[in-house]
């Protein structure tokens, strides 16, 4: 088990003038290299909890340690220089160029200019930004570009921990998906310890290695992997919060590549006989058959069209309009099945045909697939 990177013990925040604490004695342990998402309804204290870690909000009581050190040991501003911080409105400094924005923490830490400049270039490359942007001002950039600069700025001093407060909240769904992909990719390369606050359960499930579901007052209802949450919600609150269609959501967590095997499916090579095609179709219990040209799937036709044909390849076939890849989620596979007239999902690798998925394959997967590390 990896070392605990962030530990909250009895963390409490009581704002002056309010009766109930925003966060009430929260215990949470986040391992090194984990991406943990904090989710919950409005007022559950997820943002407050996040902000206590870097003392933007000072804890009223309890202990918070990062990397083994109590955050109260040093002056707040020093603690924050070792923690990356990204907020929803980003907050780039309008009067600094992009390069200077990214260089903020290195400058505060007193790095030499050369080292800082090199690091800025490195990050611009990492975030896929145009190097020509360095001398521009934030006001000249689009929202998506500013987002990426914000993350670059947070990563500049290479902090082990990254705190993100609803960073994609103000962005439209299309861009959000791409930003999420990018974050996952970054995390694969960088292995930071990330705490990510969101109110969107789907986002939380998509990104989080583990998800902490908080209730009003910072009460921790469940802290588990996405699969565990879906399989065994701790109580009614968690159930409601996860929303309906939990089965489908679980399907979204697995990929075709995770399946142990892929059936060949109801297909025959082009130079098989028409009778062969009919036989194969019967074997699969369907009323259609596909035709292969080597590895390339030419198309499919109804069984009746094969009867009496000398060569399977002589029959006029329809192309498979719907195909998925090994990276597709099982949920996308189900969607493909529903959309296709054939009721199966054909799996391709580029042009190469790999196999077929039927509904039965998926249900088998769900019922047996709970014992995973």
């Amino acid at each position: 088990m990896a070392d605990a990177m962030i530990e909250l013990r009895g963390a409490t925040k009581l704002f002056p003038g309010l009766d109930h604490p925003a966060v009430d004695a929260l215990d949470l342990t986040i391992a090194e290299g984990e991406l943990v998402t904090l989710v919950g309804p409005s007022g559950c204290g997820k943002t407050t909890t996040l902000k206590m870690i870097n003392r933007i909000v000072e804890p009223t009581s309890g202990t918070i340690t990062v990397g083994g050190h109590d955050v109260m040991e040093r002056p707040a501003h020093l603690v924050r220089r070792d923690i990356g911080y990204v907020i929803q409105q980003i907050g780039l400094f309008p009067h600094h160029t992009i390069a200077r924005n990214i260089a903020t923490v290195p400058r505060l830490l007193g790095w030499e200019d050369d080292r800082t400049a090199a690091r800025v270039d490195e990050l611009i490359g990492l975030m896929g930004l145009d190097p020509g942007m360095k001398e521009r001002y934030p006001g000249e950039l689009s929202g998506g570009q500013r987002q990426r600069v914000g993350v670059a700025r947070a990563l500049a001093a290479d902090p082990p921990v990254l705190l993100m407060d609803e960073p994609y909240g103000a962005v439209d769904p299309l861009v959000r998906g791409r930003l999420q992909d990018q974050l996952l990719e970054l995390q694969r390369d960088l292995h930071k310890t990330i705490v990510f606050v969101t109110h969107d359960i789907d986002e939380a499930m998509r990104l989080g290695d583990r998800i902490a579901i908080l209730n009003l007052g910072g009460v921790l209802e469940q802290f588990d992997t996405p699969e565990e949450l879906l399989r065994a919600p701790a109580n009614e609150f968690v159930e409601d919060f996860l929303g309906g269609e939990r089965g489908l959501k679980r399907l979204a967590l697995r990929c075709v590549a995770d399946l142990p095997e892929l059936r060949r499916g109801s297909v025959v090579p082009a130079d098989a006989t028409g009778a062969d095609a009919v036989a194969v179709a019967e074997e699969y219990g369907g009323d259609w058959c596909g035709v292969l040209d080597g590895d390339h799937l030419r198309g499919w036709a109804w069984v009746d069209q094969f009867r009496g044909a000398a060569r399977a390849g002589d029959v006029d076939t329809r192309r498979f309009r719907v195909g998925i890849t090994r990276d597709s989620t099982l949920r996308e596979a189900l969607d493909a099945m529903v959309r296709s007239s054939t009721g199966v999902a054909a799996v391709f690798d580029g042009d190469r045909y790999l196999g077929m998925l039927q509904l039965g394959d998926l249900t088998a997967e769900i019922t047996t697939g709970s014992a995973h590390p």
Partner: protein, 227 residues
């Protein structure tokens, strides 16, 4: 008004021109006096205002008293303020400068406060989150971003002060205003009156323009259009 003034100047023609040439020394001297009084008062006013603003921002309880006090000073008619100060400080430049400085305080304090408070909260939070300590945050983030508003205040204060310097003629100074008082005493001698009235106006407009240029030079980021 300017038209009437210049028209009359032209009408006066020769006598006016003659007076101007004969008294160039005095005019320049008074002009410099005007400039000095303005510059010193603004500089002093800025220092005092920054100090008072920082106090008001750090110690919330002083906020209201400080802004109210500055406001009250402002509403004292200038022809009353300088005579009132005179018995305490005499017919010296000190009296003039104290009075003039007091009048700048309202604009400067107000605009410094509005400017600093106008910096968006998320930028301040982002800065804190990156690890800025309080003092450096003020100098590197809040102050530069508040600059446009602060400079607007400096502009107004400067223009107002240039106008008020004329009133210090009551206590023997006045800069260009000296000529107004002189002209009033010498049976409304027009050239004196006009120089005394028009010169400060020209000076004020020039100063206004210069400070606007300064503001543009100091804030390159606000002019680049968004993508």
């Amino acid at each position: 008004m300017i038209a009437i003034g210049s028209g009359l100047v032209l009408a006066q023609g020769a006598p006016a021109g003659q007076w101007l040439i004969q008294n160039t020394d005095a005019i320049v001297r008074r002009g410099l006096e005007h400039l000095q009084l303005t510059a010193i008062s603004i500089a002093l006013g800025l220092v005092v205002s920054i100090v008072l603003s920082v106090i008001a921002l750090r110690y919330r309880r002083t906020y209201k008293p400080i802004t109210t006090a500055a406001g009250i000073v402002f509403t004292i008619p200038s022809i009353a303020l300088f005579p009132v100060l005179r018995p305490y400080f005499g017919l010296t430049a000190t009296t003039a400068i104290i009075g003039l400085t007091l009048y700048t305080l309202l604009f400067l304090i107000r605009n410094i406060l509005v400017g600093i408070e106008g910096v968006p909260a998320e930028i301040v939070e982002a800065a804190e989150g990156q690890g800025y300590a309080r003092n450096r945050l003020f100098l590197e983030v809040q102050l530069p971003l508040a600059l446009p508003v602060i400079l607007a205040g400096v502009r107004i204060a400067t223009v107002t002060t240039i106008g008020l310097v004329t009133i210090t003629g009551l206590i023997g100074y006045g800069g260009f205003g000296f000529f107004i008082f002189d002209g009033l005493r010498s049976n409304l001698y027009l050239p004196k009156l006009l120089v005394g009235a028009l010169a400060p106006m020209v000076m004020a407009l020039v100063a206004d323009g210069l400070i606007q240029l300064l503001e543009r030079a100091l804030t390159p980021w606000s002019r680049r259009a968004a993508a």
